[in-house]
């Protein structure tokens, strides 16, 4: 039924950890060469305002200040490069601010305290304007986020299927007709998927040095996309990419927030080059709430039309998504990622449309899941509401409408999915969780007068981007001087003494790539794990790469590592065959050596093979020296992991406080290399979805002030608010990469928020509550109970 053993590796302890547990791991803010100058930004207190004047005189004269810059000084550098530059942002506000917290001036001083002191001395004369904050107001468009715009709606994503207007019209007509059926049940809810602040524990940081003699930038940044950032810097300053040596050292959590190019990264480089000294900027936590992207921020109405016996006849989602004030890296494309899985695991006709609107708020972009948690939230909440409406068990409704087991199916929303076995996965969860027993427990507790609920949901997600042809859909890296490609990259080099270095194109921020990638190389080559060094996040080590995001690393760059290993062993086989005077096809690798099949005593170690590779006179005729291979991997499709989760919650009837009693998951990410790391990804992913369901909310007031800029206002889960996770998995490999693996970094987040809300609604539904918007903080839950009682 369930499989939890790895087929490709094992629970190898992480090689990253010794430095991190001893405190010797180096993060960007730890880079502090003598003479480093520090940056502080002057930020707008207004959400929308004209800048009438900026007086930097007092700041420039303050103790320790080396320079003060405004838009005038950096205008020639152009706007911030962005991959989908619908409304690119200026590096510093230029005559106009469009969100509270937008940087207006930049102070560089000898010390971070002095820089912050001087920032207080910059006098900015603003003429404030009425901002647009509310999403529906933005959609209606009476107030514009920017005065030069005709509409706040910058793009709409619609399906299905995606991209076929005629077929979309036919889908809508079909659903309208279904609503007229006598046995039709129509269930509809407007729901908010609230704005979130990603909150990596490490604030972003960037350190830049310019060496005029070499004509080279040396940059460290807390980023998930080292090559893209280096390319963006090169583009802005008119340099070759090779003139920007960029390192993402240890990165203290990313979650998509560091999948971006930020103005401060470009400006820190500008200051370093202008001043000829090392310059550093590190966000404060409060500042990070306005200087780093936000996520989510949707309002949408989800509607299911179905029969009384659980057949879903149509699903409609119409909504609006908040882009914030500008478009950065992927901003306007995030809802498109939701559209990809708009019809979920189901076969029903689906109509899906989301308007993307600009507002006078912090820019939104990819936050763990990026469009997919929103899509699954709406779908799985409304499926649950439909099941409740017709009095069917939510598991049965789901199974009745799932795709059957498939390889290569086209979803109703119009995308090809790789592999799926949804009913098997859900059945496995029901057995693992003892669903019937769980329901009996719930009913027993209810009989005691307690408000206990069980929530179930399932998800499919799309990740592991991806096919090289994605560039044709507008995802182009050319703004960052990179090829328009989502290829994975791996350069494997057998070193002269017989070890190996693997240079990869990903940028991990805690996902354990040094361990997992070494396992991949070890499995293919037999070179011992402790002799394989994995290099990442450095543009000088790795020829190319687009970093870690969208749960793509293993399925794309991991596959490249696998292919590079195969190329190297193919050449090594020739060398070993020559050294052993054996047939090449009889060579097998394992235990640090090449062996001859059928001759147990005949072997050469990798050290001996390497020695020959680096001394060409030892090589067979016609074979060139060196032993390395660079593999680019472009999969035929993204991967489509899936799973099902169950939560059991208790609601305090007096306070509305929600206690999470149990969280049980059955996830399927295909083959697994390191089950310890995969489980860890699921724990953290689920915690962030649970955080959205119960605690987290980036709250704006009507004037565009962000009210949640500290960790006491913006609550993330603590050890005390989460339970132990109970996880198991099914294994449905994919055929789109040679490892059969699917992404797992975001699945926990994509599958969890609706599981929690479904559980809480289950706990209070008998009181008349149909829905409560996230976050389900005590006051909201209490109020919903009171309102239901009053009704």
């Amino acid at each position: 039924m369930t499989e939890t053993t790895s087929v490709l590796g094992g629970a190898v302890r992480r090689r990253e950890d010794p430095a991190l547990i001893r405190g010797t791991g180096k993060y960007t803010d730890d880079v502090n060469p003598t003479g480093t100058l520090h940056v502080a930004f002057v930020r707008s207190p207004f959400a929308k305002a004209k800048i009438l004047s900026i007086d930097t005189t007092a700041a420039a004269e303050a103790a320790g200040v080396v320079a003060v810059y405004t838009a005038e000084d950096v205008r020639h550098l152009g706007p911030l490069p962005a991959q989908v530059p619908v409304r690119p942002r200026p590096l510093l506000a230029d005559g106009q601010v469009a969100h509270a917290g937008e940087a207006v001036a930049m102070v560089v001083a000898t010390d971070r305290y002095l820089a912050q002191d001087a920032a207080e001395l910059v006098f900015v004369d603003y003429e404030d304007q009425a901002p647009v904050i509310d999403l529906k107001a933005a959609q209606a468009g009476d107030v514009k986020a920017h005065d030069d715009m005709d509409s706040n709606v910058i793009i709409s994503w619609a399906g299905g299927p995606f991209g076929d207007e005629e077929a979309i019209a036919a889908t809508r007509a079909g659903i309208s007709a279904a609503k007229e059926r006598e046995d039709a049940v129509v269930v509809s809810l407007e729901m908010t998927n609230q704005r979130l602040i990603p909150t990596a524990i490490e604030p972003r940081s960037v350190h830049a040095e310019w060496n005029a003699g070499y004509g080279e930038f040396r940059v460290h940044s807390s980023t998930q996309i080292a090559h893209a950032l280096a390319g963006a810097i090169a583009r802005v300053f008119g340099l070759a990419n090779s003139a920007v040596h960029l390192t993402a050292p240890e990165v203290g959590g990313g979650f998509g927030a560091k999948l971006n190019i930020y103005p401060d990264e470009i400006l820190t480089c500008f200051a370093a080059r202008s001043l000829g000294r090392p310059v550093k900027f590190t966000e404060t936590r409060r500042e990070a709430a306005v200087s780093t992207i936000h996520g989510r921020g949707w309002v949408a109405t989800a509607t299911i039309t179905g029969t009384r016996d659980g057949e879903i006849l149509g699903y409609e989602l119409e909504g609006v998504a908040d882009m914030g004030a500008y478009t950065q890296n992927f901003t306007a494309a995030i809802p498109f990622l939701g559209l990809f899985i708009g019809s979920g695991q189901y076969t029903m006709p689906t109509y899906w449309k989301v308007d993307c609107v600009l507002t006078n708020t912090v820019v939104t972009d990819a936050y763990r899941g990026a469009g997919r948690p929103e899509a699954e939230y709406y779908l799985e909440r409304i499926v649950d509401a439909y099941a409740r409406e017709i009095g069917m068990d939510p598991a049965d409704v789901r199974k009745k409408n799932y795709f059957d087991t498939f390889q290569d199916a086209i979803s109703p929303i119009g995308f090809a999915m790789d592999t799926g076995d949804y009913a098997k996965n859900l059945d496995a969860l029901l057995a693992f969780a003892d669903y019937d027993g769980l329901k009996a427990d719930r009913d027993r507790m209810r009989a005691e007068g307690r408000l206990v609920g069980i929530g179930l949901s399932s998800y499919v997600e799309v990740c592991g981007f991806g096919p090289s042809g994605l560039a044709e859909l507008g995802f182009s890296w050319s703004e960052y001087n990179l090829p328009s490609s989502f290829n994975g990259s791996a350069l494997l080099r057998v070193t002269p003494e017989g070890g190996a270095t693997l240079s990869i194109g990903t940028g991990p921020s805690g996902q354990g790539h040094e361990t997992t990638w070494a396992q991949i190389v070890n499995r293919e080559t037999g070179i011992p794990l402790d002799r394989i060094r994995v290099l990442h996040g450095d543009t000088k080590d790795s020829p190319t790469g687009i970093g870690s995001f969208g749960s793509r690393s293993l399925a794309v760059d991991g596959a490249a590592a696998h292919e590079a290993s195969q190329k190297v062993t193919a050449k090594a086989s020739k060398i070993a065959a020559h050294l052993l005077e054996a047939a090449e096809e009889d060579i097998r690798f394992g235990d640090g050596a090449a062996h001859v099949a059928g001759s147990p005593d005949a072997s050469v170690t990798w050290a001996e093979i390497a020695k020959a590779a680096y001394q060409p006179h030892l090589l067979p005729e016609g074979l060139e020296g060196s032993l390395e291979a660079h593999a680019l991997f472009s999969p035929g499709n993204a991967t489509w992991p899936f799973g099902s989760h169950i939560a059991m919650v208790e609601v305090d009837p007096d306070t509305g406080d929600v206690t999470l009693l149990r969280y049980i998951g059955m996830d399927d990410c295909g083959n697994v290399v390191n089950p310890m790391i995969v489980d860890g990804q699921l724990h953290g992913g689920a915690a962030q979805g649970i955080g959205q369901a119960l605690h987290e909310h980036g709250i704006y007031d009507d004037m565009g002030n962000l009210l949640t800029t500290s960790l006491v206002d913006y609550l993330i889960p603590t050890a005390a608010t989460l339970p132990a996770f109970e996880l198991a998995r099914t294994v449905t490999p994919t055929h789109v990469n040679p490892l059969g693996v699917k992404g797992i970094g975001e699945a926990g987040t994509i599958g969890s928020a609706q599981t929690i809300v479904n559980a809480v609604v289950d706990a209070v539904a008998h009181l008349g509550v149909r829905h409560i918007d996230m976050p389900l903080r005590p006051k909201r839950v209490w109020q919903a109970i009171q309102d239901a009682k009053g009704a």
Binding site: A11, R13, R22, G25, D29, R286, D679, H683, V712
Partner: protein
Amino acid sequence: MDIHMTVNGEQVSASVEPRTLLVHFIREHLRLTGTHVGCETSYCGACTVHVDGKAVKSCTMLAVQADGADITTIEGLADGDALHPVQEGFWERHGLQCGFCTPGMIMSSVKLLEAAPDPSEREIREALEGNLCRCTGYHNIVRAVEYAGARMRGEEPAQPDWEVN
């Protein structure tokens, strides 16, 4: 102001501005960068160090307040090559991912186990409420502390979860 303290067993003296935070003194003057700054407001706990035997969030203490104190940072926890059992627990039970909260989490866990050598899961969770982690969902942090507790009591730690289910 001139200050003197013992940090990881070594005497240090320095002249600092009165407003210098202890964490900045540790990181920038002493160049012990294992202690991290996550929020500057004592919510996240990434900056936790031991001051005179207590777990303290060093971002909300002034360096001058630590004058004369005996301080241990994450760099001073291991005994040479021998990891502290809590460090070993975090490694063995995958109690960290990005590692940024880890030094503070480990320093708090050490004090937790000194106060309660055999804590329940609930006690561990409540004791670590002041240390935020965004990567692990805390599951394996709890397991890491349980592992360390068992080791420190001379018992065999429980099997890892990934070998049980």
